[in-house]
Amino acid sequence: MLIEDAAYGNRWRRVSPAAKAVFALAGLAAAFAAATPRAGLGVSLALVAATVFGARVPAGRYLRVAAPALFFLALSGLSLVFSLQPDGVGGGLAFRATAAGLESFATVGSRSLGALAAMLFLVLTTPLLDIMGLLRRCRTPEVLLEIMVLCYRSLFVFAAAVQDTRTAQAARLGYGSPRLALRSLGQLVANLTLQVWQRAQTLHGAALARNNDGPLRFLPASFAHGRRDVAAAAAAGVALIALARGMA
């Protein structure tokens, strides 16, 4: 996973997750506070610069992670730009680009870019385990945290199982036609569904064997200079919001 690779390999890996979350939240607030598209783009650029130049996430990897979201943003933008209007000739309705639609797309697009850049800053600099540790400190319900922990620790196992099964099916021409592909995919998912029970039972047995009778606890990671980092992130966040308001 591209995001996980960057989260573990960036320069700000050992910076307190709380500080990075504060800066990302300020980025989200700045994206929504930006009154003009220019201000929204300014916020986006500042957040991209913090991620690429500050945390030293490679620009190529950043673009590869952002590409699907940018594609969806462009696609969604089309639905804002074009409006259903009377045809004029046959009395029917037709899609037409409007000035109001373009203006709306500029506002929404720049805000979405800013918010996306804020989210990417957080996920590309902070491993999911650190984010889960932060959520635990924020008193997230234990049930949700347990589902998160188990989900995170199982999803790579499932991803590997999917890859192996698909390779075996493809080697037997299982994806040779759409009909065969649907059949193979159905069998693959049915097999995975069975593994859900088998793996859950095995995990439960393993937990019981270790006297586990409650929440799953893991040693939390410690970060030096936590308070200093949070203060610096808060100051940078305030500056970002001021930039968003100032460029209006």
Binding site: I3, E4, L28, A31, F32, A66, P68, A69, F72, L73, S76, S79, L80, S83, L84, Q85, T98, V108, S112, L113, A115, L116, M119, L122, V123, L128, I131, E142, V143, L144, E146, I147, M148, V149, L150, C151, Y152, R153, S154, L155, F158, A159, V162, P178, L182, L185, G186, L188, V189, A190, L192, T193, L194, V196, W197, R199, A200, L203, H204, A207
Partner: protein
């Protein structure tokens, strides 16, 4: 279809988050109670969330020749019930945002309502109605999965139309526009997901009828056949 990060205005983002919170809270309470009664469920739900996450990364061939990923809401609701799907859906959608940059944090509430609340409720309701009306397992599963998929996209269209009403035609014109765009791709995809879910449930009924019986998906007589 996930609404991307920052796309909804702030009041809509907050409103949909507040709308999603009670469903997740009820789901968390119900799941917590079930875990106290059956501790082995804890692992099952966590592993099921990983399964749903991986399922959403699979490419599903569509009858139009395009491809997309299954939502999994129909299958999840049939197997685990609609209320359990809210906390599982919350985790899966959060992971999709944090690990794949798919969806977003400010749009998490809106995506939760469409994918983890409306979809599973429709799937569970349709499946029960179909089974009570005497429909076969395959027909019940197909209707539940397809309609859940379709209602997910209808809900997303409502959310977008409400946030961005058409300057000339208002909410109705905007809804027609969003639903029309989605319908081109989503009706074939809903049919594909329905067929896929039938293939999955048939395989489960054939090789693991006991598990389906434990989850009240299969009747005793069907499990023996």
């Amino acid at each position: 279809m996930h609404i991307i990060e920052g796309f909804l205005p702030i009041e809509h983002a907050v409103g949909w988050t507040l709308a999603a919170v009670p469903f997740v809270a009820i789901g968390v309470r119900q799941v917590g109670r079930q875990i106290r009664r059956q501790p082995e469920l804890r692992m099952l739900l966590g592993v099921a969330a990983a399964f749903a996450f991986v399922l959403s990364a699979l490419k599903l061939p569509s009858v139009t020749g395009s491809c997309s990923h299954p939502t999994g809401t129909g299958l999840g609701a049939i197997l685990f019930g609609p209320l359990a799907m809210a906390p599982i859906g919350a985790v899966v959608l959060l992971f999709q945002a944090l690990l794949l940059a798919h969806g977003g944090l400010t749009t998490l509430g809106a995506n939760l309502v469409s994918l983890a609340v409306v979809g599973p409720l429709v799937a569970a309701g349709v499946f029960r109605l179909a089974r009570r009306a005497g429909a076969s397992l395959a027909l019940g599963v197909f209707l539940a999965a397809s309609l859940a998929d379709l209602m997910t996209y209808v809900t997303t269209s409502v959310q977008l139309a409400w946030a961005f009403p058409d300057p000339a035609g208002g909410f109705a014109a905007s809804f027609a526009k969003f639903a029309g765009i989605f319908a081109l791709t989503q009706i074939p995809l809903a049919i594909s997901e329905g067929l896929l879910t039938v293939v999955i449930c048939n395989a489960l009924a054939r090789f693991n009828p006991r598990e389906l019986q434990d989850l009240n998906v299969l009747g005793r007589r069907e499990a023996r056949v």
